[in-house]
Symmetry: C2
Subunit: 346 residues, 2 copies
């Protein structure tokens, strides 16, 4: 008797991206193959550096790991246009090429966001029916489900058609990855009163109201992002980026204040052992590292972007996100749904 072999997943990792490069990406890769026995990773980067780093972890060869040499590296300071033209042998580009060639199902990078977006767009192309890519990421909420938000910074200015497509893509992502049936989709807007945002937001709202495929619940304000009212929150890339980074800022501010309060109190110092676990669980709950496996969607392939200063944990959580998206074949599902919505509208 033979046991059934699970289908093997293949993912390429840009090992050289992010502020820490292989110092973060190697430990994350090792944790990932241990967590997912059916996962094969192609480690793309400077082969010598990678072999050295693997050796430091006592590994010379591993059945789930392959090293692919890339002589170049995209720097955080590289302009996207320059990276696109002159970094065709970079770890980022080669990892994307592997996706395009069908050799792997997804790529994960913590590198230069602008360069990654430009290269991914160029190499993988847009899905039919999608005009612009979006970065989608999950945030914590006061319920037990995360809330997904897009666009977090891929497309600065969005017209109503683009925002509408983002809404469809976000809904499919949450249905597939979180298993939520007919997820609640909301548009991020300002003010409680009648003056409601810009013309393109009003027009998007109209488009979504008329689309029976989308469970559109209307406008949502910033203070309700985390309330669980919506499963998917749609906004343009500028607003989404500012909102996401503002969350980081507030979390840092509150932690700092709490730490100061604890430090200044004698009695609190005595009971510090008691309070620390709460602080830690709170920090984890809002830690962007836990939630920064943002996916670039709208493309004919899966690309997950990890934060620039990604730690091992952050890069690992980005790999996990890629695994889920490959398993659920998110781009195919997005394409199918968009076709269905467009037929429905016609």
């Amino acid at each position: 008797m033979h046991s059934v072999q699970p289908i093997r997943l293949k993912i390429a990792l840009d090992m050289m991206g992010g502020d820490h490069g292989p110092l973060s990406t190697i430990p994350a890769a090792l944790a990932a193959i241990s967590e997912f026995p059916h996962l094969d990773l192609t480690l793309v980067g400077d082969a010598e550096t990678l072999q050295q780093q693997l050796a430091e972890h006592g590994i010379s060869e591993h059945p789930q790991l392959a090293v692919q040499h890339a002589p170049q590296q995209v720097l955080m300071t590289d302009k996207p246009s320059v990276a696109l033209r002159s970094k065709r042998q970079s770890s980022m580009r080669i990892a994307l090429d592997l996706v395009e060639q069908g050799k792997v199902g997804a790529c994960v990078s913590a590198g230069n966001t602008g360069a990654l977006m430009a290269m991914a767009h160029f190499v993988l192309k847009m899905l039919n029916g999608v005009e612009r890519p979006a970065l989608i990421g999950s945030l914590p909420s006061t319920t037990d489900k995360p809330v997904y938000m897009l666009d977090l910074g891929a497309t600065v200015n969005c017209d109503s058609d683009t925002l509408f497509q983002f809404a469809v893509m976000g809904a499919v992502m949450v249905e597939e990855v979180e298993g939520i049936h007919r997820p609640k989709v909301a548009l991020l807007n300002m003010g409680e009163e009648e003056i409601k945002g810009s013309d393109q937001i009003k027009r998007t709202s109209l488009l979504l109201s008329e689309c029976s495929d989308i469970n559109y619940i209307g406008y949502i304000e910033g203070n309700d992002i985390f309330s669980g009212k919506a499963d998917v929150i749609v906004c343009d890339g500028f607003v989404g980026n500012v909102a996401l980074k503002t969350c980081e800022g507030v979390a840092k501010l509150i932690l700092r204040r709490l730490e100061t309060a604890l430090k200044n109190s004698m009695s609190a110092q005595l009971f510090g052992w008691l309070i620390k676990p709460f602080l830690k669980s709170m920090a984890l709950g809002v830690n962007p590292d836990q939630y920064n496996g943002a996916s670039l969607i709208g493309l004919r392939g899966i690309v997950v972007k990890s934060h620039g200063n990604a730690t091992k944990e952050a890069f690992l959580s980005a790999i996990r996100q890629a695994v889920r998206e490959v398993e659920r074949q998110v781009p195919v599902k997005i394409k199918d749904r968009l076709e269905h919505v467009l037929i429905d509208k016609a």
Copy 2:
């Protein structure tokens, strides 16, 4: 010997605005006159209701209080255009008229933001050199100084000239109200990489770089709003509103998580008496009520907007803000500075 009498300050309060109306505004008014012995308040609203509420606090007359009857009231659901046309006898409108007539130095309202902005614009008119009004408010920071941010929602779409004027107005506000010499002014933008926001933000950055009157420090991202890097943060009204409300949302999320963590731990319950003061001081530090005396600036008069669901404390802090702006004659200072900047540019 006679003691020197301080100059008396006069402020009109829209008593009927906000979710709680006189239930919040009367206690706030009473606290304000006790805090500022040189402050005279004109309480504008339904005279009978106000007299009744005052009587419940044991007051029939008070040398610092005058009641001015207003037969109408702007509702939270009123469209700004409708309020402007058909609510000329409302408490909000009469309070603004008192500013325009020079009978008081400022007005404070917790009412319908859209209506207040429309009415204030119509009644008070813009300062010379200012195209659009802005809502400016102060947020907590990790330093001992607050950070001011504008626009928080008055002007949805801003071109670069408008954003430039906002920067000048914000700098003057912080200089006058916080006493900071040459406050650091930053533009809110996205991403750490080279793709930096929209064209109007790049153009505003250029205008500010060339203006020696402004201590412009460049772009800032959402995660640095509270870091004290900047004293004044400039953005358009949509982005500012979303960022501000997102802060509220994050603070609520973290408090909820911390409370849950404390609740689930037996030992934490035992030491709850110890932890509560920290929780409370933290909540105060990020409580929007403490920071919601947002001022509508760019007008020929002082208008402070308190939050719609303002508590007594929130409305009181809005009155305090109005007192500071009257004392420092902020609109005159803004006008002078703008004239100077424009001469400098010419």
